[in-house]
Amino acid sequence: MQPDASPEKDTAPETQMLDGKITFVTGSTRGIGWATAQLFAQHGAVVILNSRANQQLLDERVAELRSRFAATAIGFCADASETAAVKGCYAEIFKQFKRLDVLVNNAGIMQDSVLGMISEPLVDRSLAVNVKGPLFHLQEASRLMTRNKSGAIINVSSIIGSAGKEGQAVYSATKAALLGLTKSAAKELAPKGIRVNAVTPGLIQTELLRDLPEDKLAEALAGIRMGRAGQPEDVAKVILFLASDLASYVTGQVIGVDGGMIL
């Protein structure tokens, strides 16, 4: 898909925090990724969207960013667990833009299972999407960023990765791995001017939450000091901060976006 832009913006924030920045948000057709993509576009960024397999929705999202924000936007359909596909994205980014300023490693899966029921395919798939994919995205992105000696990478982990939760051993292990990746990469890439940070969202109002039984949802909400589930935009705003120059001296940090959630 080629870059394109439409002439009128329907929303123009006074401050364009990412004006002209080339940004790539993985898993960005829904939830936190989509909220982030919209906020980035609103703030003047060129936005590269990504979906695992839904080309039609991806095209619709790209068109929406172009029409609502006059943003330059393109989309890549690529599964984060397929290394060749991931690398192909960066070859295309280099071809089209020659640079990358921001990567948001958001794509991920959450499949619950109590310890006794964990299957090997579940582990393999979760590790591939939640750990291997982000690692190779980070590798490729940091190589493009190294050329300009600047960049920001934000890994979307989870409060489950830092606090753990019953029935989510696999998910928590993969999201904890992402925190280790964040801290190690931050140390390695700081001398190259590349910042790496993570956010750990709590209970966020996404499609995943809609599948939660009512009693489980009530139980979860009771453990949130702010008394409500977060919105994808709540997380997107923190990601925007970390992506922007406002966070120019912040790296290796993990920021909770959980409304004071207790696990």
Binding site: F94, K98, Q139, R143, T146, R147
Partner: protein, 81 residues
Amino acid sequence: MTGLDRLKAAFVQALGIPADGDFDTLAYAVTPGWDSVAHMNLVAEIENTFDIMFPTEDVIDMSSFAKAKEIVTKLGVDLSA
């Protein structure tokens, strides 16, 4: 300045080696200063010099000056021009 000269200049810049040295003996993890950190800087220097992007396999594979010549040629760089 030919492509070969520019490749040599990238090595000089990234590894801090003398410009009049013997490039054919340069080797990763053997030549003093060519460690893993310098290697990534070297790759970035070569990529910027020729406006190319190495596939990761080639980043790992580039273990000598001779190998670097082979890789950039494969990526479309004419070292004689």
